[in-house]
């Protein structure tokens, strides 16, 4: 691997990321399965970096799931997104930062469409007006929230308490970075580092002390695929894709996986359990699986936040093995306790996967 070559590619794919004053749009999947991640993002942005991040509780789904499953027509999707832009405009913001990679992709797609077909934009403005009596301005800056963390990776590094280094060996942790397909595969220029060698997560991992694994199936989809997952009979297709990735990363013995897409984080985590139960296989050497983090969780750990405040107990593959490597102290007792210290109940133990 010639790193210089990658850097050259990265230079070609740099994009403008606004410095402050963001209108934040949450993700359906992330807020459901990794609610701690979004909290962490806001906490880092507001408390640690002192940025202005605004969110409006009235914002809805972007309809991405419905759109990609052919349930919601494009005009509806565009109108819903236009409403988000209107909420942003009304709040006096120009920079929009979706938490979801699919939303990010969809926003990008909509803006690109309008750029080439202004008449469609006009039509959507009309629809939105008819439906809600709202108006909007096109966002000046649209980036994904992982782009924001990428932008401030050095500041986070400065304030960090933990490095992505194996405390016991002193070696950098080997990290698999997984980029959501909708981040840059549709519009390579809209992703940091492009579509083939995206550097948004690589940038974070490397500046926080870890090393990135470039394994053969790195580019491959996690397998989520809305249509595939939503219909039970098709889930075999979904899990097979994840399995392909795990098999490919296995020889590299990664310490953990990090993804910038909520769906990917979810499926790379959960499917490890499913594969273990179906076939009796895990892709680490100890039968425990490879821990999967969202980039917010990774940043939170680096910032020294408590793993249970980050919501790491919500993961299927247990993260304790990773916390031990990082040298992070944690209280086992606190894992399944709520904010007020009450017991929230423990999940059932899987048959094969060791937790």
């Amino acid at each position: 691997m010639v790193l210089e070559g990658k850097k050259r590619v990265w230079e070609d794919y740099q994009k403008e990321i606004a410095n402050d004053h963001y209108f934040y749009v949450r993700s359906c999947i992330r807020q459901t399965f990794f609610p701690g991640s979004e909290t962490t993002f806001l906490r880092i942005m507001k408390n640690d970096l002192g940025k202005d991040v605004f969110e409006d509780a009235r914002h809805t789904t972007c309809t991405g799931i419905g759109y990609h499953t052919d349930i919601v027509p494009l005009e509806t999707t565009m109108t819903v997104i236009a409403r988000h832009f209107a909420l942003m405009t009304e709040a006096g913001y120009v920079n929009i930062i979706p938490s979801c990679v699919t939303s990010f992709g969809l926003y990008t797609e909509v803006l690109e469409t309008w750029k080439h077909f202004p008449e469609i934009e006009e039509k959507i403005r009309e629809y939105l007006w008819k439906a809600t009596k709202r108006e909007f301005k096109i966002p000046e800056n649209l980036v994904h929230t992982s782009d924001i963390i990428y932008k401030f990776r050095s500041q986070i590094k400065e304030k960090s308490k933990v490095s992505l280094i194996n405390k016991r060996t002193g070696e950098p942790l080997k990290v698999v970075e997984h980029i959501g397909c909708h981040y840059s595969k549709m519009f390579p220029t809209s992703g940091v580092g492009g579509a083939e060698f995206p550097s948004v997560l690589t940038g974070m991992i490397e500046s926080w002390g870890g090393s990135v694994i470039d394994y053969p199936e790195r580019r491959h989809c996690c397998g989520f695929g809305f249509r595939q997952y939503l219909v039970m009979a098709n889930r075999g297709y979904s899990v097979s894709n994840s399995k392909k990735k795990f098999e490919s990363m296995r020889p590299f013995q990664p310490d953990f996986i990090v993804a910038n897409c909520p769906g990917c984080s979810m499926f790379l985590d959960r499917w490890q359990y499913t594969i273990a139960e179906l076939e009796g296989v895990t892709y680490d050497n100890r039968g425990m699986g490879i821990p999967v983090l969202t980039y917010e969780e990774m940043a939170g750990l680096v910032m020294g936040y408590s793993p249970w405040e980050l919501g790491l107990q919500m993961h299927q593959v247990s993260v304790e093995q990773l916390l031990d490597k990082l040298g992070i102290k944690y209280d086992k007792e606190q894992k399944y306790r709520g904010a007020k210290g009450q017991k929230i109940g423990e999940p059932q133990k899987p048959q094969f996967l060791i937790v």
Partner: protein
């Protein structure tokens, strides 16, 4: 065991590194023209058997070369050995001997 309602699929990808080339090697040894195919498809177009069933001599040849030999036995059994394919092959492939050697490779007694 739980009822999952789905299972992990093998996929359609030709996994070259883990495929079985025993038939391919055997046929190539005994009939080198086996690997001269350029995929024009005239054999399949003229094939007597292909007129009646889903049989594609070009594809059988190719899949064996790629080491994809699952179910090849049933496929090759469809050949009537009439020899029309050999008459139309532009590369001069000895198609009947290819078929013959595929069968020979499959049958255990002549595997070596």
């Amino acid at each position: 065991m739980k009822e999952w309602g789905y299972s992990i699929l093998k996929g359609r990808q030709i996994d070259f590194e883990n495929n079985d080339f025993s038939i391919s090697r055997f046929v190539e040894l005994h009939e080198p023209s086996f690997s001269w195919c350029i995929g024009c498809g005239s054999c399949t177009a003229t094939c007597s058997a292909a007129k009646f069933t889903d049989f594609n001599p070009r594809k059988v040849n190719l899949l064996i070369q790629r080491g994809e030999i699952k179910g090849i036995e049933d496929e090759i059994a469809k050949c009537m050995l009439c020899g029309k394919c050999q008459l139309v092959c532009p590369r001069g492939i000895n198609t009947r001997n290819v078929v013959q050697n595929i069968k020979r490779a499959i049958s255990k007694s002549y595997a070596l």
